[in-house]
Symmetry: C2
Subunit: 149 residues, 2 copies
């Protein structure tokens, strides 16, 4: 996977994040790539769907699994604009995603930065790349929380 | 909450777990109690729904939130027949469930027993009672995995 491809897919995930922003949800976007093609996209829908599990990652995993006709997302690369929370990183492990690429690190809800989860205990190993187009993601979050106040 | 009430509700959750068993899913069942009434029930539906997030807890949280018309489950007591995995405990925290009552401890996937998650970092405090009707839950799991082999 080339750096340029990664940034291109992350830009598409940021487009998803903006959709969340526009409906008043915390701007986080995600997408799944399989064979170098986007097979599913999603964004936060917690308030609009009355669903505390409807984080961008869960929405996207569920859509991708429907499309793949499988409850495992083997060989899938997963993009999300912010470091996943403990719920979402665990969902990605449960889904057996091959590779996770995320944007901004989060000291508010990041599974690693905030919650310091012990990845040596996971029963599935994912490749993980953090900090991709981090400043674009952070800018979007900052604008959102500024607007909220 | 009296011990007798807790065991009664856990028995109802075990009925849900048996429904999972009957459709070939790992037998875990859950339910939500609000004002001493069951408002939602659920069981594992991972394979049947092609959804790696469809653990008993997530299924039940989503149903309860639809019924309550809210993405928070304030004042809800949540029953599940087995110790939640990291995904599900985090979903319960995201949902702001007041109290969690679970059955068997799990060294295979328990957020505490296996994954030793640091609950001091959570941004919501739940009362947690584990080990309720544990042997009934374990028996069901043992039967399931015996059948599978």
């Amino acid at each position: 996977m080339l750096k340029i491809d990664r940034e291109l897919f992350m830009k598409m995930a940021l487009v998803e994040a903006k959709k969340a922003f526009e409906i008043g949800e915390i701007p986080v976007g995600a997408l799944c790539v399989y064979n170098n093609k986007i097979i599913a996209t999603g964004h936060n829908r917690i308030i609009i769907d009355n669903d505390p599990t409807a984080h961008a990652e869960i929405v996207t995993i569920r859509t991708a699994c429907k499309i793949m006709g499988n409850y495992r997302l083997k060989d899938v690369e997963f993009y999300v604009t912010v470091e996943p929370c403990p719920m979402c990183i665990s969902a990605l492990i449960n889904a057996r995603v091959a590779c996770l690429i995320f944007g901004a690190y989060s000291d508010k809800w990041g599974y690693m930065t905030k919650f310091k989860m012990d990845d040596s205990l996971w029963n599935h190993k994912m490749k993980i790349y953090g900090g991709i187009l981090s400043s674009d993601s952070k800018l979007l979050l900052r604008d959102f929380f500024k607007k909220l106040r």
